[in-house]
């Protein structure tokens, strides 16, 4: 126990002062979050000001819609509407019965739909529609649930929760006599390999959770984005992401004799590809994959984390929580067991 504590202390110091950790676990997620914030915010602003909506001449709510600043109203016939929808000249068309016609789904179409839904609801409640400020209602009351930036941030958090991968790699290469000089030196001391690895695992988890915490604080207070409404399951998935990431790092570190830099690149590539497939580079990738290869979202660990963060925080649904926890736990156990098979050898043919 005492040995474990000392190993945690010194491995922690060694890792915390390492440039690789500072960059990949602390700085890189912050840079990415700012990058996403800037790029997606820009996109949102442009779209919100230019929603082209077609309505039939003489539509009874036309005068209300014209009052909403974010809408550009086009008075057109139903035939013209089909043509303009096909040419992407309008985002949607509302007939005289307040039925919405769109050609594809998207944020602008969602906004139109919500406005129409509100008008219908007001009508059903016999409230005076003319006195209702739809723009204020829509922009202020509408929570940020449908904002694609939120979905992207869940993917980002899912990705960085697995960044214990870097510390996992460092832990393994430091104890392997055939990979580093320190590994050779440690191998002739009375230090038991598993003692060092357990300490490395604890350190990797602790430091990456710390780095995740820094990112969450940055997102909440600097970017002013509220991501977590549900703490229990969010914490479980972030911690499981850390366990999975560290186990992946230990596996990458133990399974081949490549250099530290190559192993780091392997880790970056793996997490980046999984994140890309989970929709981090844009929700449309995720939508397309969910439609064509639905199984991918259920087995991709980063998708599992980001999907569950989205569901428990925004949809208040815990439907897929158990399945997610089970799959992530299985992955972690599998990776640790495979790593053990590689690490159990006690001496080497060459070093």
């Amino acid at each position: 126990m005492r040995n474990l504590f000392r190993n945690c202390l010194y491995q922690g110091k060694n890792l915390f002062r390492d440039f690789g950790f500072s960059f990949w676990s602390l700085a890189y997620p912050l840079i990415l979050s700012v990058f996403f914030y800037l790029s997606f915010s820009g996109m949102m602003n442009i779209d919100l000001e230019n929603i082209n909506l077609g309505i039939e001449e003489g539509n009874r709510i036309g005068y209300i819609l014209e009052e909403i600043e974010i809408l550009n109203i086009h008075n057109i016939s139903q035939d013209q509407a089909i043509e303009k929808l096909n040419n992407d000249e309008i985002h949607g068309f509302i007939d005289e019965d307040l039925n919405l016609r769109v050609k594809k789904s998207g944020i602008n179409q969602t906004i139109i739909k919500e406005i129409i839904e509100q008008i219908k609801q007001m009508e059903r409640l016999n409230r005076p529609i003319g006195n209702y400020d739809f723009e204020v209602d829509y922009i202020l009351d509408r929570n940020q649930n449908a904002n694609p930036i939120i979905v992207t941030f869940y993917s980002l958090i899912a990705m960085v929760s697995t960044y214990g991968v870097f510390a996992g790699i460092v832990t393994v290469i430091l104890i392997q006599a055939n990979l580093t000089n320190i590994g050779a030196r440690l191998s002739i001391t009375p230090l038991k390999k598993y003692n060092f690895l357990i300490a490395g695992f604890i350190v990797a988890l602790t430091l990456n959770l710390f780095a995740n915490g820094v990112l969450f604080i940055f997102i909440k207070y600097a970017l002013k984005i509220q991501l977590f409404n549900e703490i229990k399951y969010s914490s479980i998935f972030v911690i499981l992401g850390n366990v999975f990431g560290t186990a992946l790092g230990i596996f990458i570190g133990a399974s081949n004799k490549r250099s530290h830099n190559v192993k780091t690149l392997m880790a970056v590539a793996t997490t980046l590809i999984l994140s890309f497939l989970s929709g981090m580079m844009g929700p449309h990738i995720k939508v397309m994959l969910d439609k064509n290869i639905p199984i991918l979202g259920r087995i991709n660990p980063i998708s599992i984390i980001s999907n569950n963060l989205y569901r428990v925080n925004l949809l208040e649904s815990t439907k897929s929580v158990k399945e997610g926890i089970l799959i992530l736990s299985l992955y972690s156990i599998l990776l640790i067991f495979s790593s053990y098979m590689f690490l159990r050898r006690r001496n080497y043919d060459s070093i």
Binding site: Y10, K13, N14, T180, A184, R185, P190
Partner: protein
Amino acid sequence: MIVKVNNLVKRYKELIALDHFNMEVEEGEIIGLLGPNGCGKTTAINCILSLLSFDKGEIEVFGKKMTPNSYDIKQQIGLVPQEVSVFDNLTVRENIDYFCGLYVDNNNLRKQYVDEAIEFVGLKDFIKFYPKKLSGGLKRRLNIACGIAHKPKLIFLDEPTVAVDAQSRNFILNGIKKLNKEGSTIIYTTHYLEEVEMLCKRIIIMDNGKDLVSGTKEELKAMITTSEKIVVGFSTVQDEVVEKMKNIPHVIDIEKDGEDYIIKFENGFNNLTNLLDFIKKKDLTYTKLHSQLPTLNDVFLELTGKELRD
């Protein structure tokens, strides 16, 4: 017997790194493994320490078979590896404390040992430095401190003075003598002749994975034909006169080394007097004349046909 290696064979695919290598180390001695780079010194150490698997042979350390799980044996061993092997992001003191702590649990004792090791390698002014801020020589000293802080009974030093400045080198060599005086048995590998001559009680000369000969330096030198070398320089000398020098009693060979001649004598007495008589008789003028005992390089040269520094 602290270490006993019997007929050790280690192959790297087609290459035979150790070819029936033998070594015996007595308690309290400094034994030198001397040989050119690539002769198998480090491989031998790594096999003894159970870092490397081997194909054949037996290894005993402290009278027990050495295995990767021999933690009780490892507790009594210290290694100073050839490459500086320390944590880049721990300070000098933290590095020494970490490695010492792998052997010594007691906090007070460990602190005392760490302080003594820092003092021993002369790094007192650098305890808060990170290794990358240290010069090559100081890094080597840190490497040594990490290997010896826990006061091991048996210390392996694998070429600890490679790429070290003269000041650090003397510091290291004097330190090794001190460690030995304090009771540690030392196995020292090097390809520097002067170091083994200065440090080691016994020497094993290695080449191509084999232990060619072993013994004290006097015993090794007594094994070869040449027992004395006289270096002489002449203002002028005819080739036929040089040829006639071969008739001086006990001369076995004459080599030209620049402007000088190295005359090798086998066992015999009055070699220098006989040479001076020859010079006087031939009315030669010498510019330089001195006698040398054979070196370990001569031993190596005679045993292998090549210079140790080749």
